[in-house]
Symmetry: D2
Subunit: 335 residues, 4 copies
Amino acid sequence: MRRLGVALLGAGRMGQLHAELLGALPEVRVVAVADPLRENAERGAFLARAEEIYLEPLEALDHPGVEAVVIVTPTPTHAALIREAARRRQAVFCEKPVALDLASTEAALKEVEAYGVPFQIGFQRRYDPGYAQAKALLEGGEIGRVDQFRAVSRDPAPPSLEYLKASGGIAVDMAIHDLDLARFLVGEVVEVQAWGAARVDPRIGALGDWDTVSLLLRFESGALGVVENSRRAVYGYDIRTEVFGEKGKLVVEALPKTPLYRYGPGEEVRLDHYRYFTDRFREAYRLELQAFARGVLEGRPLSPGPRDARESLRLALAATRSLREGRPVRVEEVA
Amino acid sequence: MRRLGVALLGAGRMGQLHAELLGALPEVRVVAVADPLRENAERGAFLARAEEIYLEPLEALDHPGVEAVVIVTPTPTHAALIREAARRRQAVFCEKPVALDLASTEAALKEVEAYGVPFQIGFQRRYDPGYAQAKALLEGGEIGRVDQFRAVSRDPAPPSLEYLKASGGIAVDMAIHDLDLARFLVGEVVEVQAWGAARVDPRIGALGDWDTVSLLLRFESGALGVVENSRRAVYGYDIRTEVFGEKGKLVVEALPKTPLYRYGPGEEVRLDHYRYFTDRFREAYRLELQAFARGVLEGRPLSPGPRDARESLRLALAATRSLREGRPVRVEEVA
Amino acid sequence: MRRLGVALLGAGRMGQLHAELLGALPEVRVVAVADPLRENAERGAFLARAEEIYLEPLEALDHPGVEAVVIVTPTPTHAALIREAARRRQAVFCEKPVALDLASTEAALKEVEAYGVPFQIGFQRRYDPGYAQAKALLEGGEIGRVDQFRAVSRDPAPPSLEYLKASGGIAVDMAIHDLDLARFLVGEVVEVQAWGAARVDPRIGALGDWDTVSLLLRFESGALGVVENSRRAVYGYDIRTEVFGEKGKLVVEALPKTPLYRYGPGEEVRLDHYRYFTDRFREAYRLELQAFARGVLEGRPLSPGPRDARESLRLALAATRSLREGRPVRVEEVA
Amino acid sequence: MRRLGVALLGAGRMGQLHAELLGALPEVRVVAVADPLRENAERGAFLARAEEIYLEPLEALDHPGVEAVVIVTPTPTHAALIREAARRRQAVFCEKPVALDLASTEAALKEVEAYGVPFQIGFQRRYDPGYAQAKALLEGGEIGRVDQFRAVSRDPAPPSLEYLKASGGIAVDMAIHDLDLARFLVGEVVEVQAWGAARVDPRIGALGDWDTVSLLLRFESGALGVVENSRRAVYGYDIRTEVFGEKGKLVVEALPKTPLYRYGPGEEVRLDHYRYFTDRFREAYRLELQAFARGVLEGRPLSPGPRDARESLRLALAATRSLREGRPVRVEEVA
């Protein structure tokens, strides 16, 4: 009944969620929380029951009790922090993505592999009970050979233009979750065709980005897939995934959020719906951190690991190229 | 590919529904439609593709092509029309109930049995695909021994006070459908305890009737049941039935009516809901008439038959007595 | 309360469905049924309550009571029968498609337009209560500007190779229904990219056809769409359609077929599912024929009409070209 | 950002759940865990991150950091522990029930009130998001005057006969949760009629207990209610609650447990279902403890409190009397 000594790097909005979840895991002892804003660091430390706070992440890494780090800082800092942790032989959990380009991603992961430290990337959907059960059923042959895949994700509202400018574009920032699910549930993708538009806000188009995209995927296995994303769904967070095979179909969709049905005038029944990904995937965030902590404590391999961090990014970059060039793009073109 | 020659007696609101359904059954040739209002008779004949119209039901019975009658006239006329048809050796389909009291019911059914004419009573729910499949599963042992039964029915709005005065009370007019389902799905009931109130309209209470009732049932098998009714549900027609057994549970409930989900602002999903029993049970009404026609043409026994007409009424009368006297009533007390 | 005099041409499997539905419409008097197989013609006449049977469709057209024809013969005969009816000034309802190529389609429709006869094409989904309500809501602005569209259709099992050889290929035979829905619900499509595979049966690939296809659509409005089809879904008929807009989302999907929930051992709940399109769309078939009859009787314009017959085919042909050539195809290329 | 110092008394099966939940609440610092089995106490302390373990609950109460106690020990010890905590001016959270009889319950609660310590009873359903939202909607007038109430609860399997002997009978042990919901959502109950049977296991009947019960309730407001319970549902934990009013209906039921739909051969769709109450209500258990901690820290009144502990028990005892005597029982008879 040992607890893993963890440093939490980053205590902004997502960092506080991780702080609360880490603080609630019996397997974890958060020894340090780092955030440049003292208020964030203090709030994070309260939630995580952490012993020390730091304004500088590298100092937190040097705390002697740190066996593992959980990185929830802004994306541009990820690669360097991964390297620093790897050099200290600390296990690494990093929110996705490692970086917005393949070169930095590969450089950081090379170091992880060189030092042999355990590494897990934060594609949290893989730990959602619905997706995890779908994966188990697929591996058990429940629907046989997979022939088609569909995934849709829509956010309730677009992020700020500031955020978007640094996001790497909708494919790298948003579709990557659906592309990772495609890889998780069906296998590697060899070709992608993507069409996009700026429907929600013309300023997003002016950035050279898109807010509405639809993609065709061709899997190595010959299966076909489609992915759809939008930056705005007024009814809340919209996520549904379907895997169709020779012996059946699996659909992952949470509806409704609260187990309450309202019957009202006008022959109408109303349910409520998820508001956002932190709402829909709170349990998945908890489970991925628990899997990380248990995996490190027990010396078991972590998943999703470096390969997933790299290949899901490569696929997102191929989609971005297709969006720009208006033609089908082979994933291997992105190197 | 013979068609059964049918006289439709009664072409009011429910009669017109029957006219349209009979006119759509290839197994049926409606030779006569009777209604004291010429306009109703004409409309019914148009819908039923009938050859002749009558203002007087007995004249319709004398049409030489009549092999069977479908009785949708006001309740007080049912027993006499059943007798007249039986004497003419015509098969009888009668909308429920035969009569509001047991004596008239038994007298009419005795004649039916004496002449040996086929007889079917209009408990249409038994022909709804959901209930019919539930019955088949129960007979196949799907859930083993039944231990509990629940049925709820609520109408969208109370009928007129005129109607209510002649209705026999809520148990005989409304709960009887749930009580018949109880008998159909689980078996005979030996004891009932009913509590009632006039919540929707005090004038209903002033008639000595109730608009809101909840019942406990004890089945011969030892199983327990509950039934709930209300004369008003602002969200439309409300009907749900549950059968719980040692190996599982069956629930019959249609939701939504139209296969359309509306996702709107405010994280809300809306479905629509059935408006009324003619809406929810249109297909059941069609199927019960088809079963009647086919059964008569092929000489097969009809169901539900005289015993169901009598026993479901007896149970409703026992519930009425319990409502009045505030005590558990043995069904056998009603004779 | 006049009835429209109809000749039903074709009384095979689909013809018999139409016979039964026409026979059940009070607005219709089927005066003639034609089928080269006497047995089919007789069965169709029984179901439709038709007065005369013919082995030769042109003879049926000459029956003096024929005001309108319902064409359910094999596809290659459609265009000629449409022309013959048009020349006789008879209103025409034709099962889709008019023909497998654009030239024959346009030739037949030109004649329809020249004679000014009412014409309706059998895209029955438009009359399904779910799709019809979706259309009404879209026209009422329920979800504002449409941004994305998704449709999936999967048949329970592939038809015979004989059938497939003459089918025009999966896009013209199957995707056309989803493409027509796209046009119905969202508007005209200007570009399509389609990828296909033969996953279900390699013999389908050997015919130069596909059994599994996924399509990207670009609408004139700038909206994006995806369509997915498969020739085999072991769980039954699979159809789901989603329209996503700036103010909400509409989803049309019927689940379950029967209003019965089965709770069984192993913490499991089971529903049943539609078996095939005749099962899922029976009411739509009835409603489209009723709309046709009422429209002709009342002199109102019919829908979907010649333009829909032509444009939905053109779109399917564009998809076929994209499947063959592996590139995005502008719909206007198909002329 | 202060944490409430809590002693957890009892670390058996339910105690460990509370340990884990308390350990995950940032508002709480568990200073002591007590259980007569050292193994339980140690496991509980690990989960709760507690500082000290005790084999004797009274010693834990004497730990100087204890501001509040959470009592999850066996029922017969509750009343004495409540008193001891009250005397120490510690806030009390007690798993239901305080005691199996009204006299002991009232004695313990009198002391709580005398010392003015905050007290909360563990009717966790009140904190489930579905029930809590239903309550808020009811208070907001969403469905107007309530006319009917229905609640069903069924456990997956009966507890041991040992447990049952000391349980107080099915009404006090099991129906009490539904009766408390009735009071929470609708208001006080004045009369109850209960029928019961031993269907699942005759040995339960031999104990003078029942495993299958159905109840009628009459509320002070004139509304009617039904409650159904069974000790065994092979499909898992079964809980559904309906509140019907003049302006609508609210239904609380969680279906399915995991957001995964499985479409399989035979036109079948499968969902999964909750296994047990700890599964269905895990979040409610967390939220009730959070509400307790926050309420004590902020000096706000706790709910459900002493009155609910007493009145829901009184109602369960009235149901027990009705089960025994086979007659309607006025709740006020139980004193």
